[in-house]
């Protein structure tokens, strides 16, 4: 079997914020975050090593490198001062797992009932969904690469489920892009 048929990897720690609020705050946050927060439902916007994921009509998940967290939180809060919003640090609330390779869709569809065909779930699409009995945020970052955000206490379950689903595709934890 080719070594890159299916890969499962835990991604490094990250800074995460849940931003909810009124348009004024959202615009202000986008300006300092460096990415306009996507207005289209279920879409992620990316710039360099930051990303903003649309999770609901007034809810975004902001991702940034772990080291930028404290500074970023303060910057965002300052920018939105005076505009109604809620900014909550959830960096430790969840962890990220990367699922990649030609069989990434098949692995995820072991527990996720969504249509993950690129036509239905293109690069840049993100959504809250389920993986079997766990709630996840699923984001297609590249044609053959998904990022799964999962609450930390469900991570072992999600990992085992995906690991079980990957077994038939052969061994090899390997990151996409490596």
């Amino acid at each position: 079997m080719p070594p890159d048929r299916a890969a499962l990897a835990r991604l490094p720690a990250a800074s995460r914020f849940i931003l909810r609020g009124k348009p004024a705050a959202v615009t202000a946050a986008g300006n300092v975050f460096g990415i306009g927060l996507p207005e289209q439902a279920c879409r992620a916007a990316v710039a360099a090593d930051r990303a903003a994921l649309w999770l609901g009509p007034d809810e975004w998940l902001l991702l940034a490198p772990e080291s930028e967290g404290a500074e970023l939180g303060a910057t965002l809060a300052r920018a939105m001062a005076g505009a109604a919003h809620s900014l909550v640090d959830v960096s430790h609330r969840q962890i990220a797992i990367e699922v990649s390779g030609p069989n990434a869709e098949a692995m995820l569809n072991a527990g996720c009932p969504l249509d993950l065909d690129p036509g239905a779930f293109p690069v840049g699409m993100c959504t809250r969904t389920v993986l079997a009995k766990a709630e996840i945020v699923l984001w297609r970052t590249m044609p053959l690469c998904f990022r799964v955000e999962v609450s930390r206490s469900f991570a072992a379950y999600v990992w085992r489920l995906l690991e079980g689903a990957s077994r038939e595709f052969g061994p090899q934890p390997k990151r996409c892009g490596e």
């Binding site: 609020g21 809620s86 959830v90 430790h92 527990g111 009995k133 609450s151 206490s153 379950y157 038939e168």
Partner: protein, 999 residues
């Protein structure tokens, strides 16, 4: 060894690789491509099982999923023992080991066969008629006897060691069945660009093409066309081909369940592969190309081994290179049997006679038979068969009126071919809730009105013959693709030359067959006479006849029998078939394993096991865990030699006397943020929040609309616009959903937002008089002295450099803190505190100690003291309710008279007269010790513990008018007798709360 019935060449088996296998302790040989049934037939073995009721010898009837007789168990090892498999669907592999069922001691000599001799004592409805009285005999005799007799096969005794997978899939067009119609449909849809899934229950795609001997499609032999077509489909990236995959259920919204068998056919399964996979396919459009099932004829002795469906023998010959016998008698009401006779004849099987039940046997196939010199006898019936474990003769008689069996002519044979025509397989269509239509010309039920996005093609809708099936399939594929949005779809047309399919058919019992065992349902041993008897006894609806006689109720669901049963009941009642009604087609189409339905949800994946950041530390320190919802929580930390009682007593003393450390990370946490946060809190909680200053905490209580307690927890106000709300462990998701629901549907104008932070924070409770001393050296940036940080306050700072939200709260009644740190730091901070606490005798404690400590203080647990019918007043929490607030969830309900009526159950304490007697939680409470039944309990015990601190047992209880009963002696039920207990205040320890500040 056994005889060899294998042809010299041909067939789709690989003759270069012989496979050894065992059936009932005898060894045989077969080839790759064989099924167990074809390999046994090749060895001359027809006898493969004993029937369910009469234990009659039974042979292989069919070549597919419709097989009612050849049910076998396949055993790889004791954990991989699968009963009730159809031998016609079991693929052969090297070393396969199978055994017959329902026989003792052996297949050839079966004691249960005595039932056959006694059969006149087992009429239809035997159970209903026999096991009526005496009543007492049921438990002792009837039920054990019936249970011993009932059921086929046995279950494996060891857990299933294999993995089962699940896959959700979506497609534009799902095609069920890869015979000519299904292949043509898949081609049409795939060429239009649709995403196609094509599944077939067999190992190879092709359906009837696999048994085609001389047909050509597009100028090529059928087998060549088949190979090229499958190869073409396999190359298309948007086509998924699923052989060995049974579409077993058609659910709502075009969800079709497929059972894929990945390793059942392998001698040495790859451990990386799951054994089976459940596909849950959501299809825009479905094409059903399920084919048709040949009907047996109903005549005496039609169940003798060697009596087979005519078309099945063709399949065995052409696909597997197996002659099912050497001398055959053919009995038919359909032209198709002539095709079988001709092909068997060509292969060297002698055809003793072709008895045609029709008065005239004309048309191309009968003519061809005559031309080949086969003895065709129109207007002839079969009146019986001879032989014991295998047919040795068949008796034919002219159909002339009133001819009886004695005038029959016995013909020596070892094979009887029968054909009553073909029944379209409408199972999946019917499961989709489509309405069936009775086609008078075909005399068959065919798909009528569709209610889902599906269409049938080919034989399953009564379109028979190769050319017609290809054309019908291509059209269905085009229509499905168009309906799925591929407007450029075009139906392929196929130039096809094949012998005609012919016409004919019968759906009833043959003449002169009454009074003898002429089987309709082979698997449940139902005869034509049983059905007639049922109609005589007043069962006129087919649904009633079915249940009374059990016809069609076996694991094959009457695939071969239902139409004949309808015909017989129709004749008996003198009503046309459509007026008899039709029984329901239920999923699964063929049995599916429990394993595939469970999928990966077993063992550690049965349900998510949630653990806290401190879990591994607790494990390393010997914690005993308990399940709280999906969470694992440390229940107690036994020292060597300690049981739970002693461990908990020690942990309780430590908290009361020095300090304890407790993992409270599972508490639900919600951050409520926004300019309207305080207004939102005022509306959701019963409490008043406006005057709670930043940095302060309050015990909060949430009601449902009906005024009953839903959840509780401490809430800290971090800032003017920011609350840190805690909920119970089990209530976290529910409370957040209730809050979000109100925000979105009732109060969209509020500028406030909710974020779950349950898992962001690890929560370390440090409780006890020495807790401040333990934390003093660790906390940075917060003055934790009592003046600066009184009970019920919160501050943000650092602990050993880690950002913390420090709460001064107590669920123990002692001075206490709850340290919240980001979860990744939880374990490290816990260990720092544990280390710093060593000089103070810090003791880890679990949920059991937490419960004892809170019960000593009379603190409730929502869901333990409350049961969904408790108001704040019932549990003594009236003080928490903001009286002057204009509204909050549940306020109006609290004003209902019933909510304030005297005699409501109220929270009280209970102290047993015997201070060491431990009451049972849930025990009922009585006013007097010797009440006669029926008694009306006053209430029940909600919590009961041994209190090391108080040196006695304590209990909390909900008792009618409890607060007015202080000091009363009541009686609590036990297994033996009611025991006396005194009603007290629910606060057993430190009622003035002095210890909250004791250090």
């Amino acid at each position: 060894m056994s005889a060899n019935f294998r042809t010299a060449e041909d067939g789709r088996i690989d003759r270069s690789r012989p496979l050894g296998f065992r059936f009932d302790e005898r060894s045989y040989q077969g080839f790759p491509g064989d099924t167990l049934a074809s390999a046994l037939l090749a060895n001359g073995v027809h006898l493969v099982g004993r029937s369910f009721k009469y234990h009659r010898p039974r042979g292989i009837l069919s070549a597919g999923a419709d097989e009612p007789n050849a049910l076998v168990a396949v055993r790889r090892d004791e954990a991989r023992y699968t009963p009730n498999l159809r031998a016609t669907q079991v693929e052969l592999y090297q070393g396969l080991s199978a055994e017959s069922q329902n026989r003792s001691p052996s297949l050839a000599f079966d004691i249960g066969a005595v039932n056959d001799r006694l059969s006149r004592f087992f009429p239809a409805g035997f159970y209903y008629k026999t096991f009526m009285w005496p009543r007492k005999a049921w438990e002792r005799w009837y039920e054990p006897w019936i249970r011993a007799m009932a059921g086929l096969g046995r279950a494996p005794t060891l857990p299933d060691p294999d993995r089962y997978a699940n896959r959700f899939a979506h497609c534009d067009v799902l095609v069920v069945g890869a015979g000519p119609a299904g292949l043509a449909a898949a081609l049409s849809a795939a060429e239009a660009g649709a995403r196609v899934i094509l599944c077939d229950e067999q190992a190879e795609f092709g359906g009837s093409l696999l048994a085609e001997s001389d047909a050509t499609i597009e100028g090529k032999p059928a087998a060549t066309w088949l190979a090229e077509t499958v190869a073409l489909l396999a190359l298309k990236p948007r086509v998924t081909l699923l052989p060995r995959t049974t579409a077993f259920g058609y659910f709502a919204y075009n969800m079709v369940g497929l059972a894929e068998r990945l390793t059942e056919h392998l001698a040495e399964p790859d451990p990386a592969l799951p054994r089976e996979r459940l596909w849950q396919v959501r299809a825009r459009e479905v094409v059903l190309a399920a084919g048709a099932i040949e009907r047996p004829l109903v005549f005496p002795g039609n169940d003798r081994p060697g009596v087979m469906l005519a078309d099945a023998t063709r399949t065995y010959l052409n696909r597997y290179g197996v002659k099912c016998g050497s001398r055959a008698v053919v009995v038919t009401a359909h032209d198709a049997a002539y095709r079988a006779a001709l092909e068997l004849h060509r292969a060297g099987v002698a055809i003793a006679a072709i008895a045609d039940l029709r008065t005239a046997a004309n048309g191309p196939l009968p003519e061809a038979a005559r031309a080949a010199g086969l003895p065709v006898r129109p207007a002839t019936t079969i009146t019986g068969t001879g032989g014991r474990l295998r047919v040795t003769a068949a008796s034919l008689a002219p159909l002339a009126a009133e001819s009886d069996r004695r005038g029959a002519e016995p013909l020596t044979c070892d094979l009887v071919l029968m054909s009553g025509g073909f029944t379209p397989s409408v199972h999946l269509f019917s499961q989709s809730r489509g309405k069936l239509r009775f086609d008078g010309e075909l005399a068959a039920y065919v798909p009528g009105h569709s209610v889902q996005q599906e269409r049938s093609a080919g034989a399953c809708r009564g379109v028979f013959g190769l050319a017609a099936a290809l054309a019908d399939g291509a059209a269905a594929g085009e229509a499905a693709a168009r309906a799925a949005g591929f407007s450029a779809a075009r139906a392929r047309s196929f130039a096809c030359h094949a012998s005609g399919f012919g016409t004919g058919g019968i759906r009833s019992v043959l003449p002169n067959a009454h009074g003898a065992k002429a089987f309709v349902d082979f698997q449940n041993d139902v005869t034509a006479d049983d059905l007639v008897l049922a109609t005589r006894e007043g069962f006129h609806s087919i649904e009633h006849v079915k249940r009374y006689t059990t016809t069609g109720m076996a694991t094959d669901q009457g695939k071969t029998s239902n139409m004949n049963a309808l015909g017989i009941v129709s004749e008996a009642l003198g009503k046309p078939i459509p007026e008899i009604g039709l029984t329901t087609f239920r999923m699964p189409y063929t049995p599916v394993s429990f394993g595939i339905l469970a999928g990966p949800s077993r063992d550690e994946l049965f349900d998510p096991v949630r653990t806290t950041p401190i879990h591994d530390w607790a494990t390393a320190h010997g914690a005993v865990f308990e399940d709280v919802g999906q969470w694992k929580r440390a229940r107690y930390f036994p020292a060597p030699g300690e049981d739970m009682e002693r461990a908990v007593a020690r942990e309780c003393r430590a908290v009361r006397q020095s300090t304890g450390i407790f993992d409270a990370s599972t508490l639900g946490k919600i951050e409520v943020v926004g300019p309207d946060a305080v207004e939102f809190m005022n509306r959701i909680y019963v409490n008043a929040w406006s005057r709670l200053g930043a940095g302060r905490c309050r015990y909060g209580l949430v009601l449902r609309e009906d005024g009953f307690i839903a959840d509780d927890g401490v809430v800290g106000r971090l800032a003017e616009n920011r609350f840190h709300v805690t909920t119970t462990t089990g209530g976290a998701t529910r409370v957040l959903a209730q809050m979000e629901d109100y925000l979105q549907t009732e109060w969209p104008e509020l500028e406030v937002w909710l974020t779950s932070v349950t898992e962001q924070w690890a929560v370390i409770a440090v409780q006890g008089p020495r807790s401040r001393a333990v934390l003093e050296g660790l906390v940075e940036g917060i003055d934790i002295a009592s003046r600066a940080m009184p009970h019920m306050s919160v501050a943000e700072g650092r602990i050993r450099g880690v950002p913390t939200r420090l709460f001064r709260v107590s669920y123990t009644g002692e001075l206490g803190f709850e340290v919240n740190v980001p979860a990744d730091y939880g374990r490290a901070v816990w260990e720092e505190i544990f280390e710093a606490g060593q000089p103070h005798g810090i003791t880890p404690y679990g949920t059991e100690t937490m419960h004892v400590l809170r019960a000593e203080k009379g603190y409730i647990v929502v869901g333990q003291e409350t049961d969904g019918t408790a108001t704040p007043d019932d549990v003594g929490l009236t003080w928490a309710v903001g009286k002057t607030k204009p509204d909050f969830v549940g306020k109006r309900s609290l004003a209902r008279p019933a909510m304030r009526a005297p005699g409501r159950k109220q929270l009280v304490g209970l102290l047993t007269e015997d201070p060491h007697f431990l009451l049972e939680e849930g025990a009922q409470i009585l006013a007097a010790p010797n009440q006669k039944a029926p008694t009306k309990p006053l209430g029940h015990v909600t919590s009961s513990y041994r209190s090391a601190t108080l040196g006695r047992t304590i209990a909390l209880a909900m008792i009618a008018g409890g607060r007015d009963r202080m000091g009363e002696m009541l009686y609590v039920t036990t297994a033996e007798r009611p025991v006396p207990a005194k009603v007290t205040s629910p606060v057993f320890y430190d009622p003035e709360g002095a210890r909250l500040d004791a250090a």
